[in-house]
Structure formats: structure tokens, C-alpha cells
Symmetry: C2
Subunit: 352 residues, 2 copies
């Protein structure tokens, strides 16, 4: 540790993202990207915006983008926040709304960025264990807390919660903010967006990286009562006035507007997931129920790291989490095209 | 204040950026943007990158961009940090390196985002008054401190410090980090980058928004000893793994590589500034010496707000700061093209 560092720096345990390989020939099923290109309407609109006006700052409030999102979801613009990826929004949420006397609660097996945010902002937290089947049991969250956050569907398990269970939690937990991280919601999980106007403590984040095929552009959004959005705006405007560049703003607008392409691609991914689940079952894999664009799976007899290495040698990248021990025999596999899934199954059949 | 907010939120006094008007016919001299388009090499390279691969995450470490910057400045890649605009980098710097027992020092008249960062991270600070001529007097900073930060040239005055004075400060202040915010350095101020390898506590930030004409793309960089860069990386990786999108990374690379265009445009801006200074002098304005792409000026008898309003009615936007009172008779005017400056002078001559 350098004497020049603030105290917080040496305490940090940064998040480690999945590998981004230079080798383009690899079949990349490790970071939950969409196998389909962004919509041509998105690409064309970005290209048209690559011009002289890039010399000018973007709209600091991303008003047109917020307008488009609010119209799409039937909400008011004051219910919308946008950020440089949903990771940035989550960081603002932890700082603005989850730093309390009581600990924030999240699952013991979930998106591993949550504890990193807690270290960054010195926030107390308590991990709530998943149940025996690796489900989030929301009754376990009805304890003293400074906020609750979980992904729906959960990551890396992919298991979705029903909306009725989320609404039940919201009715019983009124004194702190409940954050639903819906990064993967569009692949077969029911969104809680329709509850925004009923619960003043509900906050939902979504991402353009997965279902909108825009991981490379960095864009996320959040929905909540305007009091919660105001807290996020205050933090954002004390951090970076212009977090979203001109091209990302136009990309987001066009991605929302091209609903046909959005539905076409997400349905293809759901079909490919069903195919993969069925095929894996036939070769002795157990697959957790998924509402996401990935599955969490383990072989009934073969070691996860062995399978991970075999796949890597065959040019397929998947993700393995060595901790906690309870999930160390699982692999997380991103859903690609039907051809990608067929290739994966062929390799597994040939090598296992 | 909502009961759901963290304590910090109600304490925040967010930064207010200059107005971004919808009316494109206005002559925009209020937010220090470059009047020239980004290089055609930059625009062409961005367009070529608007393709299917935007579905994939960008390189989280921006390695190619860091490589390009480090080669250009003759530094090691481990001396380089990049961020989503230099504002994001400044936020990380305050949290990672300036939160100390002793207060961070900065000028009383300077970039008004600095106190906003201090509120955001609960950092003690002490404002050091500019001298009678609105200069930063670095001898005043040789007191107990948890860090020192100032822009060179300073904003909104535009007055540059000489490198010899900065080196003198670095020799006498070894126990805390000295941050030089060089957002405007390329318009006639000497950079301290050549001192990076000599002083382990020197940190420099630069922006692609001004001299590289890329305000719309959000990109900044920082230079320091690798121990300081490591602190910034730890914070960044606890906040957002992928802060810089694919198109911004390629834009930054090409902007650095097109040195001819960079020099051509910044020299034009320096010439237009000299023209404006001379013409303003002839119509009874006092102009502070500027090493930036803006000037800070006051009329010897006419009220600043009156002039501000006259200009706005004539379609010209400049910036006025009502606080502190000491600068309330000044206007900050961004340097545009020679034609922009001629238009401004004509309006002033016709109306004052």
C-alpha cells in the first residue's frame, strides 16, 4: 500500500469481469453477450451521428433517451434514470440509497459486484443463503435491513422469481429500498416494472447489453418513484455531468424503438436455450431452470474444471466460478445461436 | 429529503454544467468546446467500428488506447489511466487519493466540480484564495494538506502556471499527491507530463473534449507513477468494469495518432484567441492572460450581466459565474473560429 492512497483503496476487492479474448475464432459463451448484432436501425442511426457534432458535449440529462424509455414502459420521464451501463447505475444506487445503519441484504450466491460496491462505499451487508435448490427465498429477507437487492433472474443461477413473490416482499418490506436487478429479465422472466407506480421503495435496473445487443456501447437504465430517481441524479451530477456519449444516446433510442427486432432475437435465444437444456439433459447434465440468456449446469459425474478445460481446448469459452464451493461444480453457459448450441453439444458428446 | 436516501444525498451540492441549447443556430461560446470537427480519420475509424461487434463488451482495460497514449507521451502503459471523460477520472482521484486526515487544497476560484466531489466522498477541503491579479500563488499551498489540486491553466481565469513553479511545488510538497488538471493545456500552457517519472506524487489529468474535439464521445486520461494508477484502477474496478465503450476507445486512438490535425486546429484556436484579445482590448475590455481555449474578460465600465444578455439576444452564448462576487463582473468566452470571433466583436461593437 502506498502512503498516497486513501484508506479505502487497500480495503477494496474489485470485481473481476469475464475474459475478453483477442482470439476472434473462439466461441464466446462466457460473458452473456447476445449472439445477434444490434439492430440495423441502431447501426444506421449511430453511423449518421458520427459527424462534426461529436465536438459538442452530449445532452447531460439524456432527455430524448429518457423520453423514449418512459413512453415505451408507460412511465413518466421523472421515473427514469440512465447510466453508463447498469453497473454504473448500481454503483450510484449503493451510494445513494443502500448506505444505511442496517445492513443491505443480498443472496450469498449472486452478482459478485454487489460486495465490491459495499467495500467501495463502506456499506454494511449481510448475505442471505440460497435455499437447497439454489433459489432465493424472499421470506428470509424479512429481517432488519438497510435495503434489499437481488437480480431477477438471479445470476449466475439464472433462476427467476415470480412477480407475486416480489409483490409480497414489497408489501411486507416498506421501510427500505428494494432493488430488482433485471439485467436478464427479457429472456423469459416477468419484469416488476408494472409495480413502479404502486411502491415508492421499488427500484429496477435494466441493461442494454444483453437483450438489446449493445454491450459494446455501455448503456443501462433504472425505473423508480421520482424521489429515488432524484437521489440518483444528485449523485450522478456530483460525479460526472455527461456520463453517456452522443452515440450511446442515439443507440439506446433506436434499440428501444425497434421492438420487432428485439422480440425476434430474444425469442430465438429462448428457443436455443430450450434446445440446449434438452440436449444437456440427454448427456447427463443437470440444468437449473433459467429465465436468462444463460444456463447454470453441472454434469452428474464429470468435474466442472475438467469440462471447462476440454471446452476451452476445443475453442469454446464458458464461465466457471470456483467460489463459493457450493457452486464450484457448475458451469455458466451463455446462450448463443442455435448453431452455437449445436456446436457446443457436438463437442461435449465427442469429448465426454 | 426522502427516508430512503442515504445520509450523503441531502448534503450534496451537484455541479451545474453550462447550458446545452436545442437551438442549433446559436453561436455556442459557453462550454469550451472546440469549433472544429473531430479529425476525419477519427470519424472514419468510428464509422468502421459501427458493426455487429457492438454486441460484445469492450476491452475493460482499454489496452490499445493506453498503449497509444503511452507511446505518444513516452511513458509506460502502467503510467496511464483512462476514463469516461476527465470528470470521471477526477471523481476516482478524489476518492482514491485525496480523502485524508488533512484537507485537500484547491483555489477559491477554480473548476467548481472540486467541492462537489468533496461533498460526494465526505472529504475535507480548504480553498486557497487567488492573489490580487487572480493568479494561483503556489507558495500558499505549502501548508499541512491531504493533497493539492488545481487546473493548469486555471479555469475559469485561463491563467497558466509556469512549469518551473510547479516543479518547485513538487520539490517542497512530497507527502501528498499533487494533481494538475490539464484539461486546457494544449492551447498554450506547458504540460507537466515530462515530470511524471521524477515525482511519485504527481498526477496529471487531460481531456479529449477540448483539444481533440471529442466532447461528445466522453474520454479523458491521466498520467502518474504506477502506484497512483493502481489506486485508480482499484476504484474503477469496484465501480464499473467497462467505463469506455468500443467507439470511444477507437476514437481516442485515432485522435492521438492524427497529430497533424491536432496541431493544425489548436494553432488556429490560439491565433483566434490572440485576435480576440487584441480586439477586446480596443473596445475597453480587460482580458486576463490565457493559456486556454477560452478567455476571462470584463468591460471597464459596462456590467457583465448586461453584456451577457445583449449577447444572448444576439444569438451568442457565453458563460457568467455570479459567485464568488469577485468574478461576477467577468465573462468566460470560448474561443471559436476566426469567423466566430469576428462575429462576436461586430456584435459587441454594434451594441455596447
Amino acid at each position: 500500500m502506498s502512503k498516497y492512497w486513501s484508506n479505502i483503496v487497500s480495503r477494496l476487492t474489485p470485481y473481476t469481469p469475464g475474459e475478453q479474448p483477442k482470439d476472434k475464432s473462439l466461441l464466446k459463451l462466457n460473458t452473456n453477450e447476445n449472439p445477434y448484432s444490434p439492430s440495423t436501425k441502431v447501426l444506421d442511426a449511430i453511423k449518421l451521428s458520427v459527424k462534426e457534432s461529436l465536438r459538442l458535449y452530449p445532452d447531460p440529462e439524456s432527455n430524448d433517451l429518457k423520453e423514449t424509455i418512459s413512453n415505451y414502459y408507460g412511465l413518466s420521464k421523472s421515473n427514469i434514470f440512465v447510466g453508463n451501463g447498469s453497473d454504473e447505475i448500481l454503483a450510484f444506487i449503493f451510494q445513494a440509497l443502500l448506505k444505511k445503519e442496517a445492513p443491505v441484504l443480498f443472496p450469498d450466491i449472486t452478482y459478485s459486484f454487489y460486495p465490491a460496491y459495499c467495500s467501495l462505499y463502506d456499506i454494511k451487508y449481510k448475505k442471505i443463503p440460497l435455499d437447497k435448490e439454489l433459489n432465493i427465498n424472499l421470506e428470509d429477507y424479512l429481517i432488519n435491513n438497510g435495503g434489499i437487492i437481488f437480480p431477477n433472474p438471479n445470476a449466475p443461477t439464472g433462476i427467476p422469481k415470480r412477480l407475486v413473490d416480489i409483490e409480497n416482499l414489497l408489501q411486507l418490506n416498506r421501510e427500505s429500498v428494494v432493488v430488482i436487478d433485471e439485467a436478464y429479465v427479457d429472456f423469459g422472466t416477468e419484469s416488476a416494472v408494472k409495480l413502479i407506480n404502486q411502491y415508492k421503495n421499488l427500484l429496477i435496473t435494466q441493461s442494454f447489453s444483453k437483450s438489446r445487443s449493445l454491450a459494446g456501447m455501455r448503456l443501462g437504465c433504472a425505473f423508480a418513484d421520482e424521489d429515488l430517481i432524484e437521489a440518483l441524479n444528485r449523485v450522478k451530477n456530483s460525479f460526472n455531468s455527461y456520463p453517456i456519449d452522443r452515440l450511446a444516446q442515439i443507440a439506446g433510442i433506436k434499440a428501444i424503438q425497434d421492438e420487432d427486432y428485439f422480440n425476434l432475437t430474444r425469442i430465438k435465444i429462448i428457443e436455443a436455450r430450450k434446445f440446449l437444456e434438452k440436449e444437456l439433459f440427454l448427456i447427463n447434465f443437470e440444468v437449473l431452470p433459467s429465465g436468462a440468456n444463460f444456463i447454470f449446469t453441472r454434469h452428474k459425474s464429470k468435474d466442472a474444471i475438467t469440462i471447462f478445460k476440454i471446452l476451452r481446448e476445443s475453442g469454446v469459452m464458458v464461465r466457471h466460478f470456483s467460489e463459493p464451493e457450493r457452486i464450484s461444480q457448475f458451469l455458466r453457459i451463455t446462450i448463443g445461436t442455435m448453431e452455437d448450441m449445436q456446436k457446443l453439444i457436438s463437442i461435449l458428446k465427442a469429448t465426454l
